[in-house]
Symmetry: C2
Subunit: 336 residues, 2 copies
C-alpha cells in the first residue's frame, strides 16, 4: 500500500469550521501515513490554525478557495455561481483526479448537487444515494437513501441495496451484511407500489444477502445492516430517529431535576448513562457517504467536531484502499 | 343530552380479552350514565366475568358472536367468511343503526377492512384513515393516516387534514388545532410529488389552521396537533416512534444495572422516571379512530388493558355527542 489516499476537506463547512476541521485533518494525517489531506478554503483562516502544530508537512496542504456556500444558499445556484467556493473547488479536485475523496460538514444540498454535477456518477448508476450510518442497539446500520432525490424507482432501490452492501462489507467490515427493505409489514404482498415492485427484484439478487422486509419498529434493534428505502422515507426515518431520541433524553433529564431524590440518583447514574448515550453517537463512524460517484464524497454532520472529521478522512482511506468504486462498477455487471 | 351513546365492544379482541375488555366496559358504564355498551362475543366467556360485578344492567348487554378473527387471519377473507365473528357482528351493528360506535383491540387489518365493507364510508369521503394519537413532549398529536391503504392521492390528504382537525377540536378539545404536512424540509418546494401537490391545496383550505410542513424531527416536540401524511409514511413514523422509545428505554435500563453506583441511582430516580414514561403513554386518550365512516370505529392497542378500553368507550361518547360524523359531512361542502 504505497499510494496515498488523497482527501480534499472543506475547511470552511459546518458550525465549527475552520477550527475543528483543521484539527481533525491534523489528527488524521498524524493517525495514518497512508493519507494526504488538502484543506480547501481561505488560507488566511486556515494558516493561523496550523501555526506551531506538529504534523507531516508533505501530507497536509492548503488549497485556496475564496468563497463559502452558506447553509441557507440555494444548492443548485450556489454550485453554479460560487465557482471558487470550498465545496466546488474540493469536488472538482475529484473530477480532475487531484483527489480521491471529498469531506464536508457544509450545506448538505450543495454537497449533494455538487457531487452529481462536478464529481459525476459512475456510468450505469442511475442515482447517487446519501447513506448515513444510524446507531442501533447492536452497532450501526446503513440507511440508504437519505438524499435529496425523492420518488425513486425500483431499479434505483436495487442499486442502493448493492452499493450499501458493498459499503458495509468492505468499509465497515461486516461480513455478508443483511439487507432489508423498509416496509409496513413483513409479508411480501404488503407495502406501497414501489416496495411491492422492488421486493422480488431484491429477492432475485444473488450478490446480496436480502433478508426481506423490515418494519420501522425493528430498525433501532439493529436487525439489518443495510436498510433500503427511497429518500422521502429515509429522511423521515433519520430525522424522527434523532428527534425521538433527543426529546426522550430531554424529558428524562427534566425528570431527573424534578426533586432532590431524583437529583441525587441522576448524579449517580450519570457516568453509566453517558456511556450508553455515547453508544448512540455516530461520529465514530465518520460521515455519510454519497455513493455511486466517480470518487467518494462524505457529508459529515453540520455540528462535526474534530473526531468526526478525522474519522471521515480515515473512512475515505478505507474506501479507496478497498477499491469500492471498482466494486460498485463490477456490481453493475450483475444487473445484466 | 338524554340519548345514550351505544357502543359495541369486541369482547374477544386483543391480548387481554375477554378479561380486560369486560373490565373496561364495566368501568365505562359506571363512569358515565350517557353510554350503553354491547359486549360482542361468546356469552360463555363473558358471563362469568360479569358475575357478582356491580354495574347498571340496563346499560351493559351481551350480544352473542360465536367466532373470533385471529391476528394472523387474512383480513378480507376473515371479514367475508367469519360472519359470526365479534368484529363482523359489532361493525354490522353500526350499519343496522343498533350501535353508534365499535371498539376493538383485535386484528387491525380486519377492523379496517370491516369498517369499509360493513360500516361504510360517508358519501363523498374517498378514504377512511386510521388516526392514532401519538404522545409528544407537550401532549398528543393525531397522526393521520396510519391505515392499510397506501399510495394516497392529494385529495385524500386534504380530507384527512379536515377530518383530523375536526377530531382534535371537538373530541380532544384542542382549539384551532395546528395542522401540518409531513415533509423532508420546511420550504414549500421541497418534498415528493404527493407532498408538492398537497401543500398548496392545504394552504387554500380556509376551514383548517394549516401551519405548513413538519419535519419528522419536530414530531416528538409536539409542534402540530394534526400530522398529515399518507399511510406508508404514517406507519413508518408510528412504528419507528414506538421502536426508538422502547429501545432507548431498554438501553437506559441496562445501563442502570451496569454497576452498584448506577443501581442505587436507578432506584432513586425510579419514581420520577416512571412519571415521565407515563406521560408517553397514549392509553389515556383511548384508541385510534378510523375516520370517515357512517359511525365511529376505534382500534385500541392489541395489548390494551381495561383503562384503554374504558377511555375508548368514553371517547366514542364524546364523538357521538359532538356530532363528528355530521361535522365531517358538512366539511365536505367546503371542498366544492
Amino acid at each position: 500500500m504505497s499510494e496515498l489516499t488523497r482527501v480534499a476537506v472543506d475547511a470552511m463547512g459546518g458550525d465549527n469550521a475552520p477550527e475543528e476541521v483543521v484539527k481533525g485533518a491534523v489528527e488524521a494525517v498524524n493517525a495514518s501515513e497512508r493519507v494526504k489531506v488538502f484543506l480547501v478554503g481561505r488560507p488566511e483562516a486556515i494558516e493561523p490554525l496550523l501555526a506551531g502544530v506538529d504534523y507531516p508537512k508533505d501530507r497536509l496542504e492548503i488549497v485556496p478557495a475564496s468563497e463559502v456556500i452558506e447553509t441557507g444558499d440555494p444548492p443548485v445556484q450556489s454550485i453554479r455561481r460560487k465557482k471558487d467556493s470550498s465545496i466546488v473547488v474540493g469536488e472538482r479536485m475529484i473530477r480532475e483526479q487531484k483527489a480521491d475523496a471529498f469531506v464536508s460538514a457544509g450545506s448538505t444540498g450543495a454537497v449533494l448537487v455538487g457531487g452529481q454535477l462536478l464529481v459525476g456518477r459512475i456510468r450505469g448508476i442511475e442515482r447517487t444515494p446519501l447513506a448515513p450510518l444510524i446507531p442501533t442497539e447492536k452497532g450501526s446500520s446503513l440507511l440508504i437513501d437519505c438524499g435529496a432525490n425523492v420518488d425513486a424507482r425500483s431499479s434505483h432501490l436495487v442499486q442502493f441495496a448493492r452499493m450499501g452492501s458493498i459499503y458495509m462489507e468492505y468499509v465497515m467490515g461486516i461480513q455478508n451484511p443483511r439487507v432489508a427493505l423498509v416496509n409496513i409489514g413483513l409479508e411480501e404482498e404488503k407495502g406501497n407500489a414501489l416496495v411491492k415492485e422492488t421486493y422480488p427484484l431484491l429477492k432475485a439478487c444473488k450478490d446480496i444477502n436480502f433478508i426481506g422486509s423490515i418494519e420501522a419498529r425493528e430498525i433501532p434493534r439493529g436487525y439489518a445492516d443495510v436498510i433500503v428505502c427511497e429518500a422521502f422515507t429515509g429522511n423521515v426515518i433519520l430525522k424522527l430517529y434523532e428527534g425521538t431520541a433527543s426529546t426522550l433524553v430531554d424529558m428524562i433529564k427534566k425528570s431527573l431535576m424534578s426533586d432532590l431524590r431524583s437529583k441525587i440518583g441522576g448524579l449517580l447514574i450519570k457516568p453509566a448513562l453517558k456511556q450508553t448515550m455515547k453508544g448512540l453517537s455516530t461520529s465514530d463512524n465518520g460521515g455519510a457517504p454519497l455513493l455511486g460517484l466517480n470518487g467518494l464524497v462524505v457529508k459529515t454532520h453540520g455540528s462535526s467536531k474534530a473526531d468526526e472529521i478525522r474519522n471521515s478522512i480515515l473512512q475515505c482511506m478505507t474506501f479507496q484502499e478497498q477499491g469500492i468504486t471498482e466494486k460498485i462498477r463490477a456490481s453493475l455487471a450483475a444487473e445484466e
